[in-house]
């Protein structure tokens, strides 16, 4: 258990010290969401109706572009081999790295989401649903992302391939996350969507950890 905590603390320290990492992801999230009014026009009604989707899609993209750092540094400096050879279960190591990834990139996005929603003329009565759906959804994005990031380790092409692998796996959680917000806006019950989203997170987590661990074992062979 202490090892897991130390790993989370180490990854967070790395994310803070390599200033580019967490900060750039957040800047990307803000900019990508702010670009939409330029693309679709400044009509407040149109922006208000797509705001939840825009925030969700940009959160998904921000999570995906930050995946390259998840295991690559550890592979290059050799610490990944030590983690794989360690007596602790590799799934726990992956869980710790996902938690650190989420704390560094997912949590700031969740915190900034209401601000971006406000800029996009989102109906702020439902802001808490947006935050709740992102708070449940972004850990799932980190977990699905760890599968993609570990699978592409050592591949000839990095970034675009990670996206191709990860995005299909992220779609279910996004569908129900956006569904919850739309239900709130339409005055329908929010709970079913949130519960399904949480169920996807809970059921997908062991699968993602198992798959990532298997992929890491292949990567260090």
């Amino acid at each position: 258990m202490t090892g897991i905590g130390a790993l989370v603390a180490r990854d967070l320290a790395l994310a803070v010290r390599r200033r580019g990492e967490a900060g750039l992801t957040l800047a990307f999230f803000v900019m990508a969401a702010a670009i939409f009014p330029f693309g679709v026009g400044p009509d407040p009604l149109l922006l208000g109706s797509i705001a939840a989707g825009v925030v969700w899609v940009t959160a998904l993209l921000a999570s995906t572009i930050s995946l390259d750092h998840l295991f690559r540094g550890d592979l290059e400096d050799g610490s990944l081999e030590i983690l794989v050879l360690d007596h602790r279960p590799l799934e726990g190591v992956v869980a710790a790295k996902c938690l650190a990834h989420w704390l560094a990139t997912g949590l700031p996005v969740v915190a900034l989401a209401p601000l971006m929603a406000l800029l996009l003329n989102f109906d702020m009565d439902a802001w808490w649903v947006l935050v709740l759906s992102l708070a449940i959804g972004t850990p799932a994005l980190s977990l699905a992302g760890s599968v993609g990031a570990s699978l592409v380790l050592g591949a000839r092409r990095g970034g675009a391939l990670t996206g191709l692998v990860v995005l299909p796996l992220c779609l279910p959680v996004m569908v129900f996350g956006v569904g919850a917000v739309e239900a709130a806006l339409a005055g329908r019950p929010v709970l079913p969507h949130i519960l399904i989203e949480a169920a996807i997170l809970v059921a997908g987590a062991p699968l993602a950890l198992k798959a990532s661990a298997a992929a890491l074992r292949i990567a260090v062979e």
């Binding site: 699978l151 000839r156 391939l161 191709l164 692998v165 299909p168 796996l169 292949i218």
Partner: protein, 245 residues
Amino acid sequence: MPLRLHSLASPARFDRFARRILPWTWVLAALLIPCGLLWGLAFSPADYQQGDTVRVMYVHVPSAWMAMACYALVALLSASFLVWKHHLAGLAALAAAPVGACFTATALVTGSLWGLPTWGTWWVWDARLTSVLVLFFLYLGYIALAGSFDDRSRGLRAASILAVVGVVNLPVIKFSVDWWNTLHQPASVLRLDGPAIHASMLWPLAITAAGFAAFFAALLVVRIRSELLAWRIEALMRRRSAGAA
């Protein structure tokens, strides 16, 4: 049955099996596909609502079935490759994936050709269409991942893990139309209470589907054999360059 499948894991034995089965699959495909399509396109009755456009079904539905069945096969083969380390299983999955991607693309294209006259639009973001599109992306991701490593067996193993993870999408496709009652119609053939379409349409559909399956089997056997040859050539080249050095 598993024991007999395992015996195919030896490339030499697979080659003998392939030589025996290949003519039959080609003959079956060459008989069943024209027969089913001719029956479906020319002699089956037109639908009372959709008229002649219903005939798109005889290509669309078998393609969609094959798209899903092929993904299930890719995932099963990948799983057995990861568990039992049978190299041939991984190769077979790699050989099947592009064929499955083509079936998925066929299902999507014929579906949108069918959508225009019946729904009035080429494409809607309906649950079934979207999840089949995701299936297509999964195929693409699998193929791209397998081809992205300098060490081919490394790429094969990484892609196999992805194929197994992607299985979660299959039940979503199958039941999407029941869970979200959207534009795409619910299943009318593979139902617990028996098919809901008339025998005059079911027969040509079943024959075309069987023909597609035979065609798929033939392509799969040819592709596995060429993959095996490619790996063997690569191994020979490596041995030769090692001997020269």
